[in-house]
Subunit: 415 residues, 2 copies
C-alpha cells in the first residue's frame, strides 16, 4: 500500500538535509548515479522488458511503445544527462540582491531550493533519472509519479538512484516513487499541500489539464504549443521559407514546432509558391483561408478550429492579414503563449511584435524550435512553462529554486 | 446578472492596451484617481453608510465594523496610497538579462505585466483602490471580488477609479468589480483560467484556504503567520525582551506579529522574569512548557496546539530547547513559513538559523514586524507570500510582473 503521508514526511525531512549539501557532494551523487545506471544496464532492460511485454499485450501502438522502450543507448543517454547536470553551476545559496535600510537592517535575498517537488509524467522512463537529477542539483527532494505503463522500469531506475544516494551517504528519500497505479492515489498526491511545494506535470495536454484542474498544490504548467510564424510584408522570402520549413518539419511532435502561419497580404504571392514547394518535400498538408487559396489552388480550406490546433503532425494552417496589428491580434487570440515568430526586415514591426505578442518566447527571424533549455544555454531543461507565474519559457535549474529574505539587525524594533 | 465571461474578455482586451501604456500615462491615471476619490468623498461615505447600516442590522461585531467603515481620513489614505504608487519607479519593460548564443541569437529576458490579476478579498473597501493601484502600475488589468458586506462601498470606489481612467483616455476595463454576492459566481471566477493569469486572495485564513483549494488559476498564497522568536543562549537578554515585546504587542492582529517563543535552556532563568514583567505591561498571557513553568510559577501550560496557533491576540506560547538545532527543528515543524527570528550574539548560530529555518523572512536580532513591503523599501505591498513559487515574503510591484524572452536572429534554424 502506498502511504503518501509517510512519503511526504520523508521528503520533508530529506529537504532539510538536501538544502545543506555542498555542491561537491551533489555532483558526487549525480556521477555515482550515472555510473550505476550504466552498470545496472541489464537489470534495467529486464524491468523495461516486462513493461514492454505488458504494453504489447495491451495493444499499445508503436509510437507509444517507442517512448516506453529503454535500450542500451537510452540508458547511456540517462547517464550522460546526469553527468551533464553535475557539470552545471550550482545556483543555490547565491545572494540575488542585498540592500540596507535606513534603520540599519541589512537584507539579503538568497536563492534557496523550492523544497519538495512532485513530478507527474507519462510513459518515458528516462524522465525518472532526468527529473531527479535536475531537482536534486537544485537542492530539492522529489516525489515521482510516472505512468503506470512504465512502472517496472521506473521502479528499477529509482532503485538505482537511491542506491547511488546511499553509497554517497545522502538520504535516499531525495527521490521517492509512487508505485501505486490507483487513480485515487494520484488525486491524493495532488492535494498534499502540507508536504509538496510545487507540482510539475510533464506529458500530454490531457495530463497537464488534469493536474491544473485537480491540484491544490501550486503547479507549473508546461505546455502545449500552438506556435505561429508571421511573415511580414518586409520579410526576406527565402529566409521565411527556411524558417517555416525548419519550425514545421525538423521535429513534428514537439511543443515548439510551428503549427500556424500568418501571412501579410503583400507578400502572399511571392511566398506561397516557394513555400508550397519546400513543404511539399515533406508532404506537409497546407490548410489556408480564402486568400491563400486564391494562390494555392486546391489547398484545403482552414477552419476556425484549425487556427487553434496543435497538430503535432505534417499539417500547417495559414491565415492572411492586412497588417502587423492584425497578425498580432490573430496570434494573441489563438496561441498557447508558447513561442511565436515574425519574419521581417522592418525593425519597427519587429519591435512591435516582440512587445505585443503575449508568449513566453517571441522571435524575430529565427525558428521557434529554439525554445529549449539547452538552446538557451541553461544546460538543462525540466520543461517549457506556458504560465506567467514563477517561470515562463524554458525552465532550467534556477527555475527549480525559490528565495528567502535574511534580515540582520542589532536590536531594531518597529515604531 | 454577472457575466464573468464578458468581464474576462474585457480584461483580456484591456491588458493589451495596459501593457503598452507609458509610465507617465499610468501615473497620470493614478493621480487623477487619487484626486477624484477626494472629490467624491460624500458619495463614497454615503455608499459606505449603506454597508454599515446593513452590517449593523445583521449584528456584525465592532472589530469587523471598524474594518468596513470608511471615513474622511480613510478616503484620504486611499488617495495618498495611489499618489505614492505614482511616485514608484516603473519596472515594466526592464531588460532583466541579455545574452548571445554561439549561433548568433540575441536573447533578452524582459519584464512584462502578468496580464489579468484577480483579487479576492474581504471587508476592507480600501483594498479596492489599493489593489487597483498596484496592479495598474505594474501594467495589469484587475478583476476584483470584494466581500459582500462592502459591496456598496466597493461599487462606489470602483466607479470613481473607472471615471478617472476614462478621463485620462485609458480603458475603464483596467478595473472591474464582480458585483454578484452569489457564492457560485466566486467559484466560477476561480476557474477562469482562460482569462485570469493569477489570483491573489487577501483576508482571513479561511478565505485563503478556500481559494487555494478551489482555484484552478495559479494562486499566490498570502498568509497566516505563526512567527517565532528564538532566544539563543548567546542572546543579549535586554535586546531579546524588547524584540519580543515589539513583535508581540506593537500590533497584535497582523501576520508578522510574534506568536511563539523558543528559549535556550541556558538563558531561561535570566530571560523569563524580565520578559514576564515587560509583557505584563500589556497583560500578555504567557503559556509555557514545564521548564518555563519552573521559573514562571503559575504560567499557563502550553499544549501542542498552542505551538501551531496564530493567536492574533495578547497571548504567547513558549518552548524550552537544548540547542539551536532543536530550536530550528521546532520552528520548522510549527511555523507557517512567514517570519522567524533568532536573538543571539553568536555569528555561527545566527548563520545556521538563517540558512536552515524555512521561512520567507528569517531575522537575526530584529523584530519580525519588519516583514512588510514598505519596511523593506518596496514602496508598496500587495501582501506577504507564504508560498515558494513566484514570490516569497513581501510582494511589491515587481512581484506583480512576469517576463518574456525575446529572441532575435537573422534566419537561424535548428540543425
Amino acid at each position: 500500500m502506498t502511504d503518501l503521508t509517510d512519503m511526504g514526511r520523508r521528503a520533508s525531512e530529506a529537504k532539510y538535509e538536501l538544502q545543506k549539501l555542498s555542491t561537491d557532494k551533489k555532483n558526487e551523487v549525480l556521477r555515482a548515479a550515472a555510473e550505476l545506471l550504466t552498470q545496472r544496464r541489464e537489470e534495467l532492460l529486464e524491468a523495461n522488458a516486462k513493461d514492454i511485454a505488458a504494453a504489447e499485450a495491451g495493444g499499445m501502438r508503436s509510437g507509444m511503445l517507442d517512448r516506453l522502450r529503454l535500450s542500451g543507448e537510452r540508458i547511456e543517454g540517462m547517464a550522460e544527462g546526469l553527468m551533464q547536470i553535475a557539470e552545471l553551476p550550482d545556483c543555490v545559496g547565491e545572494v540575488m540582491e542585498r540592500f540596507d535600510r535606513p534603520n540599519g537592517l541589512h537584507i539579503e535575498k538568497r536563492r534557496v531550493p523550492l523544497g519538495v517537488i512532485g513530478i507527474i509524467y507519462e510513459s518515458r522512463p528516462n524522465v525518472t533519472a532526468d527529473a531527479f537529477g535536475l531537482c536534486f542539483k537544485a537542492g530539492n527532494a522529489v516525489i515521482l509519479k510516472g505512468g503506470s505503463d512504465a512502472l517496472q522500469s521506473n521502479i528499477a531506475v529509482t532503485a538505482v538512484l537511491r542506491e547511488a544516494l546511499r553509497a554517497c551517504g545522502v538520504t535516499e528519500d531525495a527521490v521517492q516513487l509512487i508505485e501505486s497505479t490507483d487513480r485515487s492515489v494520484t488525486e491524493e498526491f495532488m492535494r498534499m499541500n502540507r508536504y509538496v511545494d510545487v507540482l510539475i506535470p510533464r506529458g500530454s495536454a490531457g495530463l497537464i489539464s488534469n493536474v491544473v484542474t485537480n491540484s491544490t498544490i501550486p503547479v507549473i504548467e508546461t505546455g502545449t504549443g500552438n506556435c505561429h510564424v508571421y511573415v511580414d510584408k518586409a520579410a526576406d522570402v527565402d529566409m521565411a521559407v527556411e524558417i517555416i520549413y525548419n519550425a514545421k518539419t525538423q521535429r513534428i511532435g514537439v511543443c515548439n514546432a510551428c503549427e500556424s502561419l500568418v501571412i501579410h497580404r503583400d507578400i502572399r504571392d511571392a511566398l506561397l509558391p516557394k513555400l508550397a514547394k519546400r513543404l511539399g518535400e515533406k508532404n506537409v498538408e497546407m490548410r489556408g483561408d480564402d486568400r491563400v487559396r486564391e494562390v494555392l489552388k486546391g489547398c484545403v480550406p482552414a477552419t476556425e478550429e484549425d487556427y487553434g490546433k496543435e497538430y503535432l503532425d505534417y499539417i500547417i494552417s495559414m491565415k492572411t492579414v492586412d497588417s502587423v496589428e492584425e497578425a498580432i491580434e490573430h496570434i494573441n487570440r489563438y496561441n498557447t503563449k508558447h513561442s511565436d515568430c515574425i519574419v521581417t526586415a522592418d525593425a519597427e514591426a519587429a519591435e512591435k511584435f516582440l512587445n505585443e505578442v503575449d508568449s513566453a518566447c517571441v522571435y524575430v527571424n529565427a525558428s521557434t524550435r529554439f525554445t529549449d533549455g539547452f538552446e538557451f544555454g541553461f544546460g538543462a531543461e525540466i520543461g517549457i512553462s506556458t504560465q506567467k507565474l514563477h517561470a515562463r519559457g524554458p525552465m532550467g535549474l534556477k527555475e527549480l529554486t525559490s528565495y528567502k529574505y535574511t534580515v540582520e539587525g542589532n536590536g531594531q524594533v518597529r515604531g
